[in-house]
Amino acid sequence: MDIRISDSSIRKFLKTEASPQILADMLSLSGPTVDTLEPAGNDWIYHIEIITNRADSASAWGVAREAYAILTQNGIHAELSNSPYEHTPKLLGEIPDVAPVSVTITDPTLVPRFCCIAISNVHVSQSPKNILTTLELSGERGINTLVDCTNELTIEYGQPVHIFDLDAISKKTMIVRESKKGETITTLDGQTHILPGGDIVIEDGSGTLIDLCGIMGGENSRVTEKTKNVLLFVQQYEPKHIRKTSLTLQKRTRAAQLFEKHLDAQLVMPVLIEGTKRILERAGGTITSSIVDIYPHPYTPTTITVDLDWLNRFAGITLKKETSCSILRSLGFFVEARDTTLVCTVPSWRQWDCQIKEDIAEEIIRVYGYTHLPSVLPRTEVVVENELSPLKRESALRNLCVRLGYTELYTSSLISKEATSLSDTPISQTITLLNPLSDEYTHMRTSLLPMLTRAIGENIHRTPHPIKLFECGHIYTTTKTHAQPATERITIAFATNRSSYEALRGDIEYILKAFHISYTITAGEGESNALCAGHFATITSDNQPLGYIGKPSLPLAQFAGLTGDDCWIAQLDAHILCEKGNLTYSFSSLATTQTIIEDLTFTFPDKTPIGTVIGALYTQSTDISDITVKDIFNTNYTLTFHYRNTQKNLSSADIAPLRLAIVKLVKETWNGSLVGTLPEIQA
């Protein structure tokens, strides 16, 4: 919660020589953060960020209270005065014993405390300039003397105050209850709200709502310059109700932001007293009722015991008992110092955020100053992890891809519905957001390829060079197990352009071999949303699907903005690599025997899978150490054969039968023919 408080309003409660700058710096280090300090004529405005559990500091009084403790601990003289807790009903003198209104609270849990008092014959006008200025400095505008008074009180004490035109409350009845769905109220800002139901409201007994409790008063009961009789109204509400209504109606008033946090019910009466006094001073009139105070569960103090040894261990330094006590007392705690412990009584305004010994420790140490704590590295035992983490293999995988010339990309885990249609994962397994922010990001991705391929399209005009991109990240699918809400599977995808299938396949096979993953590549069958039918290959490992390589399908190419460019894509289940992969090197000694190299050219019929041919030829003899495709011209394939025996140097006589076997196999299995004749055997 961000608030603006003027320096002058703080100094109503705090006497100190410290400048606003010092105050701001000291507060930020040990208390509420002052985001900025803004000069405003003779005054200053502190823009303060109030943290959610410290609503007690969301006021001039609250800030003054914090400042007092912090300044004194730091050796800067300060005095705290004008505490509201000193205001008792006695200050108002004799007042009539007449109830101002008849109050019914249908559910006491809705209203922890309800206080009001009637003041009659007031004269409502405009507030004097100094009050208007103070209000403006805190971000409020002047309305009239009475309303300004309530706003002033809210700013000074952090306790919202409301005022009703008493004559506008027909039947002088107030029923505090939950709203029914569909009920309406027009609030002070002129807006009419249809209530969702369950909102805390006050009804005047005739069905008319006169207050949207904790958020904004009703227009029908507001105080104007014509008002003669008023009901000053200070109360507290159940925080969850206020928050819900305020968020649903998007009405984030200062009062709402305060009431949705727990406030100090002990502050309600003092603020009512102070409010009454101010109204009488500024608008005249007389008190014409008793004080209504419905307070079903009055505050009872709680104590927290803090062991001093524990405190020192927790802080990491030795704190003097006297220092801890003086800090706590300056913050309003009552402390009984015993030999080894401090028994601390929590003041009413801290009952909500001080409940355990760690809360007390925070109070002591923050005011003492976190800057006084030394920097110490922990001495702990080493955490032993026995296996090489899959995350390390994943890191090695990324590095390998970079070495292979790929540039890494990060794309969003959230994609559009259109992009989802380009994945082969069924829509039933795709995870959808209940509350997406836009149409672009509605589903969790089940494939990395759509956005990666699109990145190729986006980069084509940015560089003349071949582009090689990869992304390694999760894809997300639904699961059936209760323990894990979704499956997050680490996947790696590649996209290249101005390249070839052989080049991409070569990179992928290199990776799989580096990870010692056994794999098989076969013709891709059937339809795919991502890949062009008949133009992709499937990779499996131990009969598990591992991935695929191919050309993008037409829809994917269109999505990616590719037009006839030579793009090849691939995706692998990186999880398998990271779980099963083995990165240890296996070295083999270099051969001492010689290799004979020769080219043989064959003509094959159309659609002969050359890779399969080569695979089969390898198996003909262990003396064939390598076969590569040197050249392809129409249906003529020139293959380079490397012959080598590890034990002895091969001669032409040794190779001759191999050649014959090769030619025979090619002819018999694939109907391929040798071009030219076999080289003659040299004697």
């Binding site: 040990s30 955490v383 990324r398 990060y410 969003s412 959230l414």
Partner: protein
Amino acid sequence: MTLDEAQKQLELALQQALTDVSRSPLHAALLERTMFDKKKPFGLASGCITSLSANDKKVFGELITQGKNRIREAISKHSEAKQGSEHWFDWSTPGTPPILGHTHLITQAIDEIESIFSHLGFVRRRYPEIETDWYYAEGLNIPKDHPARDDQETFYISDSVVLTAHTSNGQLREMEYMKTPPIKMINIGKTYRRQASNTHALMFHQFEGLLIDSGISITHLIGVSNYFVQHYFGPDRKIRLRPHHFQFTEPSFEVDISCHICGGSGEVQGAKCKVCKSGWLELGGAGMVHPTVLKNGGIDPTKYSGCAFGWGVERVIMMKHAVTDNLRQLYTSDIRFLSQT
């Protein structure tokens, strides 16, 4: 084919080869390979040998050898001539820039962060991005309807399953996994916030540190934080703690890092520092693990204490590299940007 025909073809090819050599700018070694290549005229003509009779083959074979020798002679004469003449080596020729692969800035940062914390014995984890309500909020001491729950800023998949907006779910998961302290975890993963802005992205990365043992104090949090900033940003940097509030830590802190320009003073040569304005830049949140959270993780809060922090990966990248102050820029697909790493 007759010997005569073959001879004629060879002669023609030879003349062509000799002419090519005299005109060629290539090196001697390359020239030789090119000239004798089977697809080139001389190589093709030599190939005619296969269609000749055995006797003719012998004759033709000798002609080929002679032809090859003449070509080789011509090549070596040609190279000598080139070296001797005004063949000048242009030292100023610009080098050809290589085209390399590049690791993403975010991966580099994650690796660096992991490495720094591993010096201190922290173990790298990656916990789920899609989480149940318990690990994401309730177990972290954030009950339903609590103001600290920023439901409007969270993506929901179902009533009780969210895209996590912080890596703190890792705290509970790690405690469950390890069961006994010492627990030293660095959980780095993707987080999601439902907010639209020019400078904020829906998805970003956070790193969450968790240190639980007996006797862990606030000074240890300061020590570990200082260690990180000094190794990641530089030895002259330091952190400070300010009071803050999170439901899952008590006390909670906002951690600032001293400004690299003014060193924490807020001033540069008497004028206000333009980068930080106050001397300090926000790094992120931290705190001592709330005893309720320890209990929820199965750790006895009477025996153990812990500290934790959760900071943004992109934030520290942008603070270190001054590459951009717009987080979305880091996720660009533009290869010209990515190639800078």
